[in-house]
């Protein structure tokens, strides 16, 4: 060991900087290489997580992002340590990028600890992570609109945790929920029933009971005080989900019933639809917490929702929907609300449309709510006068301008005609959805229903299944078209496995519609007559974009709709990862040498990774652009393989010679390297030939790849470094934009023998790069390697074989390296991958995929012989 250290670092002795000890520098060098591999592994993991459709949890996102950030830091810090802080500028660049990454993926540290409850007037958005988004916005709204938000308080995350920790409730729930799948609706119902019962009968800790009672006592209203206890869900470490209507709100609760209501609202976290929804999106139960927003009850004469900015044919307008009585009827699908369109600039009602409401909800005489029929004499009136509509809109406009964002609000007008805001949220996807194009009816097909409102776009076909009750939900088979009277949010539990939803009533603004859009299930609401027209079991095609239901399966309608990309596409964690990946994955550095640009040019973590890798190697060998220095034990290999390879002899890897000239393979004494090179220089490989590329692949390759002007050299990329002894090889190479490592030992002790191969990257898009990695994986699998692939990163390993077999394995790696070089451009489809795989296994190493191959099954080549 000491011997080769001295040889490696002999030339460092002349350095004037105060550098650390040799062994420290070697340690740093090794750690940079290690961190580089680890960082590239996380990079591949991030790309895979973004591309693939599997649900992603907040914890997985944090793991990937924290992993790549910490490994990048290790590269930067070890580089600085080994160079006596020569790259301090890189460190400050790292900290800039890291701070931006952290801001996106991590919660801001909570500045002040909060108690179990916080009065609403003290709540602002900075407390969102403690009280949930609903309470946070409402607290802010109260400040902006003095007097128009009912008095109340919020229960906090610490309150939820204290409750969950009492008698091990949280742990008991975890055990019941273990292994549950969102596909198994019956199991979700069973677990839901059990957990709900556990939560509703659990002990609320005394201190929390007292806090809630004190907060209630502080509210005005005396003995007749009634309260609304609403859910304010909290998603730790990730963006908020809509969870529209999936949690419970309890209305008209007596003061002494608030503690129990708290427990029931927390229990609604385990409703079947909430469980299904969370599981389907990859959230773990522990990541979701439940806070409550407790408000003084408003006895509403009319109530509803409002969207501050909604696209219409005449530009963006304000949309208001109103029902008589409590506002729940406006969003639970049981009524068609009255609709007002308002213009913010002109401050007037542009249009109003009367809805259909046969029953209304009102507070019960003692507690709770009751549904009563709308009185005959008032059913002809609108729920709201135009003037009242304008008053509601005016509050919303003030909020919108103060918050600086488009919002949707829930509002109510009490019997004294005072207007209250009950909920404020940033405007959801409704507006975006409404702006999407519609389709025409398909001629020649029989339409069963031709009216209704597109609540969620797309088209789906299946057998009709009428659903009204919970029992219907359990009986409902997968793949059907659900037909129902009311667009009740309870049916959300069925959506992940449903072809489409049709409802007699319901609005595009309803909760069920929101969930349908998130899960990309086509939905047609307000058809008036679907439950009467569509017969149970009959095959239909629902084209929500055309607002038509056809008899039978209508392929034209289905084909015109883009295929449903599955429930994962709007996964908020994937969106988070995608948004932060701009700071991580792109590689903007194009040059070969770290010394040729300033660290300031590093814009992403990938840039830093590459920069540090290059700078470390330069620092280690002081290469720069010059040729091998005198006295340096580094030799350039002259070989027919177009790789600029520098050999670093750690002892016994090169045959002894006096001069410092270039070497040829004749002089290499390293067993693994000889075997590898035999594979790479196999005469049947066509290294110099450019593989044919499809135009698209070629263009994208051109964009990313600076072709070397020096055509006579045709050296593909930067120098590769081989560290050799007689038995050991470590070869690091960057060719174009891929990066590979071969690490191997061949000796007579079987247990010490191994060969590992790692390959990542390329010049093309991630899809083609991943195909190349797949091809490599299959070719190495075929030779008995253990392999592991993540996106475009492939790891392969073979161990404990006798020397002859190890040499064969290295030969095979060499062949594969030669075969797949540049193939990422050619691998335009999975079929092409298979063709290349088949050709290789037949020994047809100069196989080229051409247009004519697409007709045949594929393996036509020129030099096909069985491999050695």
């Amino acid at each position: 060991m000491a011997n080769w250290i001295a040889r490696v670092f002999g030339f460092f002795g002349q350095e004037k900087h105060s550098l650390p000890d040799l062994d420290v520098r070697i340690g740093c060098f090794r750690e940079v290489l290690h961190a580089n591999n680890a960082a590239l592994g996380f990079l591949a993991g991030i790309q895979e997580a973004i591309e693939e459709g599997r649900p992603l949890s907040a914890a997985q996102v944090r793991r990937l992002v924290a992993g790549i950030t910490s490994q990048t830091y290790r590269m930067v810090s070890n580089l600085n340590r080994m160079t006596g802080d020569r790259y301090r500028a890189v460190l400050s660049r790292f900290h800039d990028i890291k701070a931006r990454v952290a801001r996106r993926v991590e919660l801001p540290p909570t500045l002040k600890p909060v108690g179990y409850v916080v009065p609403l007037k003290e709540v602002d958005p900075s407390l969102a992570e403690m009280v949930g988004q609903k309470s946070a916005y409402l607290g802010e709204a109260g400040r902006i609109l003095q007097g128009h938000v009912p008095p109340g308080f919020a229960t906090t995350l610490p309150a939820y945790r204290a409750f969950m920790e009492t008698d091990g409730l949280g742990d008991r729930i975890s055990r019941v929920m273990e292994g549950l799948s969102s596909e198994d609706v019956a199991a979700c119902f069973q677990v839901s029933a059990r957990v709900t019962q556990m939560v509703e009968s659990a002990t609320v800790p005394n201190e929390l009971v007292r806090s809630i009672q004190d907060a209630v006592a502080a509210l005005p209203g005396g003995p007749s005080l009634r309260l609304a206890v609403r859910s304010s869900a909290l998603q730790e470490g990730g963006p908020e989900m809509s969870f529209a209507g999936q949690y419970r709100s309890l209305l008209n609760i007596r003061p002494d019933g608030v503690v129990d209501a708290f427990r029931r609202v927390v229990a609604s976290k385990y409703s079947p639809q909430a469980i299904t929804y969370r599981l389907g999106r990859g959230y773990t139960d522990a990541e979701a917490a439940m806070c409550c927003c407790v408000l003084t009850m408003v006895d509403a004469a009319a109530a509803g929702v409002l969207y501050s900015s909604f696209p219409t044919s005449a530009g963006n307008k304000t949309l208001l929907q109103a029902v008589r009585g409590l506002g729940l009827s406006a969003v639970d699908g049981s009524a068609q609300p009255d609709t007002f369109t308002l213009d913010q600039e002109a401050r007037r009602v542009l249009d109003s449309r009367r809805g259909v409401q046969s029953s209304l909800l009102r507070p019960g005489p003692v507690e709770g709510t009751q549904r009563v029929p709308v009185a005959e004499e008032s059913s002809g009136d609108s729920a709201l006068t135009p003037d009242q509509a304008l008053q509601v809109a005016d509050l919303a406009w003030r909020l919108e301008s103060a918050l600086g964002l488009a919002i949707d609000v829930e509002w109510a007008i009490d019997r004294e005609e005072r207007v209250f805001i009950l909920q404020v949220r940033p405007l959801s996807d409704v507006a975006e959805h409404a702006a999407k194009p519609r389709k025409g009816r398909i001629a020649g097909e029989r339409a069963l229903i031709e009216r209704g409102a597109r609540a969620s776009g797309g088209a789906g076909a299946g057998a009709v299944c009428h659903v009204e009750t919970d029992l219907d939900i359990l009986r409902c088979p997968p793949g059907v078209v659900i037909v129902t009277r009311e667009a009740n949010p309870r049916f959300a539990v069925l959506l992940p496995r449903t072809a489409a939803v049709v409802a007699d009533m319901g609005e595009v603004t309803s909760h069920l519609a929101t969930v349908a859009r998130e899960l990309q299930v086509p939905a047609l609401f307000a058809t008036r007559s679907a439950t009467e027209t569509l017969r149970d079991g009959e095959m239909v095609t629902v084209d929500a974009d055309a607002e038509v239901v056809y008899a039978g399966r209508v392929e034209a309608a289905l084909a015109a709709t883009a295929p449903r990309s599955g429930k994962g596409t709007r996964d908020p964690h994937r969106e988070l990862l995608r948004s932060v990946s701009d700071l991580i994955t792109p590689l903007t550095l194009r040059n070969r040498l770290a010394s040729s640009y300033s660290p300031r040019k590093c814009k992403t973590l990938h840039d830093l990774i590459r920069f540090c890798h290059q700078a470390t190697i330069e620092a280690m060998f002081d290469l720069g652009d010059s040729a091998v220095r005198k006295g340096q034990p580094l030799r350039r290999l002259v070989s027919e393989v177009p790789i600029d390879c520098r050999i670093f002899d750690l002892g016994g890897g090169l045959k002894p010679r006096d001069d410092q000239q270039d070497v040829t393979m004749e002089e290499v004494a390293c067993k693994p390297m000889i075997a590898l090179w035999r594979g790479m220089t196999d005469p049947r490989l066509h290294w110099r030939k450019l593989r044919p590329v499809s135009l698209r692949g070629f263009m994208s390759a051109l964009v990313q790849y600076n072709f070397d002007d020096d055509a006579t050299m045709r050296r593909l990329g930067e120098p590769s470094y081989a560290f050799v002894t007689a038995e050991y090889l470590n070869l690091n190479s960057r060719i174009g934009y891929h990066f590979s490592t071969v690490d191997a030992r061949i000796c007579d002790t079987l247990e010490s023998n191994y060969a590992s191969f790692r390959f990542v990257g390329g010049a093309t898009g991630i899809e083609q790069r991943s195909r190349r990695a797949t091809l490599i994986q299959r070719l190495l699998d075929a030779r008995g390697f253990e392999t592991d692939r993540r996106a475009d990163l492939i790891n392969a390993r073979l161990r404990y074989r006798p020397p002859a077999e190890m040499e064969e394995a290295l030969f095979h790696i060499g062949l594969v390296m030669g075969y797949v070089n540049h193939l990422d451009m050619a691998l335009s489809s999975d079929a092409v991958v298979s063709a290349y795989e088949e050709a290789f296994l037949l020994g047809n190493y100069d196989f080229e995929w051409g247009e004519d191959n697409e007709q045949e099954s594929g393996v036509r080549g020129t030099g096909g012989r069985k491999g050695a």
Binding site: R30, H34, A59, R63, Y73, S77, A102
Partner: protein, 124 residues
């Protein structure tokens, strides 16, 4: 290859003991401690080549222990092992002088590799 003496610090005993047992089977002599305080006691009594430290522990957390160790036992490299991945805490730990930052669930080979690298042995 000489045995390595490892100090493994984690408050979660269900994780700590099985992991220590698996390390012992790989010729690592492994002392366990369920808190920062107990880790400091162990450090007073024994010599270690390396410490694996959980970040999130009640009382003295992993970063506090790391600070103390850098000051009093600078020769013992610290590998942070966390169940709560965090960009800020990870970098902070490395800035404080941690040798490596690993995340649970951790692959045994990966942990072993980090232990050996930190103790200055060849990775293989």
């Amino acid at each position: 290859m000489a045995d390595l003496r490892l100090l493994f610090v984690d408050d979660e005993v269900e994780f700590l003991e099985p992991m220590a047992e698996r390390l012992r089977r790989r010729q690592i002599s492994c002392t366990t401690a369920q808190s920062g305080d107990r880790a400091l006691e162990a450090l007073k009594q024994e010599q270690f080549d390396c410490a694996v430290v959980d970040v999130k522990m009640p009382g003295m957390d992993g970063l506090d222990l790391l600070r103390r160790m850098r000051q009093d036992y600078p020769g013992v490299p610290v590998i942070l092992l966390t169940g709560h991945a965090s960009v800020e805490l990870g970098v902070q730990g490395l800035e404080l002088g941690a040798f490596e930052y690993l995340m649970k669930p951790v692959d045994l080979d990966e942990l072993l590799d980090a232990v050996r690298r930190s103790a200055g042995q060849k990775a293989r």
